[in-house]
Point group: C2
Chain length 209, copies 2
DNA sequence: TTTTATTAATTGAACGTTCAATAAAAAAAT
DNA sequence: ATTTTTTTATTGAACGTTCAATTAATAAAA
């Protein structure tokens, strides 16, 4: 079996196996033996290619976030009418495309999100991603409304997107991408259509928190 | 030391210690020894009162969800103007009151949410809670708009609330309750103010997903 | 034959649970 | 009012298991 140039193949194979294993038993019960079995290799190979279990987990999270970023970027380049609104819609589409919105990906994503609360290396990856989403949203909203409103709109849409993922990951039937996308797009529609009406009391925003 | 009637005291003490321990090192690295040390008791006592580690974790999640339900109910009974809108605002206030919106609670909540993906007993608790929130929201929205719109509005607001908790649990500065509440209330405002305007394309909802 | 890829066996640490012993408090008996 | 018995609360050490990492051996490719 040993052939030269196996490294990229094995890495990809093991990352995919990690997601499958997390989907199957959850991050808490994932062992290197189980991941290796999924990939059809021995456990020792994980230390060889990733330096250990933690290295593989980090690589898996990085892969998910990279795929997400790619999906957003891809959707954005397919735009014909390049308006701010179209760009916002593309961001939403990208976020519910996430390469493929499968159960393993959604569950792994949430598992890592929770895990990153106490693992600085994962937290850093997560934060970079969060900030990118927020900045992207804010840059577009700012073309259409004052800064304060744009910030509020960005926080709202970001919360909706993450909330839909969160709920989708837990629901027994899995994340229904079409339904989620519809909710997010409807939210965007409301955020844009109310930007020129007078603010009611609960809209008042004095400073960013 | 042994006094009679310690059970309710110890149970409360251990549940609180569990949240503190999860806040400190995360659910993955929580050991019975660490929880016991936080509570100032020995490790064996956990099995005695909760039947084991899992029993304590389940009791802790149940406590958080109970506190949340109580907070919502309390906010609702303090209402003077009992309009559907006021009730929706009370639900939001309750969800960002959650007895006390502390860091340990937010982190424990998210940790359990992730964990419940693969623990049926926890998933059941979570689902009961989810459905209660959704039903409460939907019942109020239905007073103000057609059923289809009410369902969409409920899904949106539920996603915003959970998304804000999710993001708050991860952010290094912790969950800022005031800022989160403001976002949620602004979302509610938009959901209500657009209910009588014509729907744009992305608002169209044919069937529930 | 040297290098690369991989395995299988092993190690050592960490963990949850169990359980016998103990100590205080309460109840009963003297 | 003492003493004895019983109940309740708690400890801490021992046990068995599980797991990640390491190591030495193996086998194919270059």
């Amino acid at each position: 079996m040993p052939k030269v140039g196996m490294e990229p193949i094995r890495r990809q194979q093991l990352i995919k196996a990690t997601m499958a294993a997390i989907d199957e038993v959850g991050l808490a019960d994932v062992t290197v033996a189980r991941i290796a079995r999924h990939a059809g290799v021995s456990a020792g190979i994980i230390s060889h290619y990733f330096g250990g279990k933690d290295g593989l987990l980090e690589a898996t999270m990085r892969q998910i976030l990279t795929d997400l970023g790619d999906a957003v970027a891809a959707n954005r380049q397919e735009l014909r009418h390049d308006t701010p609104r179209a760009r916002l819609e593309a961001i939403i589409e990208g976020n519910f495309d996430r390469s493929q919105v499968t159960d393993p990906v959604a569950k792994t994503w949430l598992a890592f999100w929770a895990s990153s609360m106490h693992k600085p290396r994962l937290a850093r990856l997560q934060q970079i991603n969060d900030r990118r989403l927020y900045s992207n949203l804010c840059a577009q909203f700012r073309c259409l409304m004052p800064l304060d409103e744009a910030r509020l709109a960005s926080r709202t849409l970001a919360a909706v997107i993450d909330g839909l993922w969160l709920r989708g990951a837990l629901t027994p039937e899995g994340l229904h991408a079409d339904g989620a996308r519809r909710v997010a797009l409807a939210t965007l529609d409301r955020l844009l259509s109310t930007s020129d009406r007078p603010l009611s009391t609960s809209d008042a925003v004095t400073t960013a928190s």
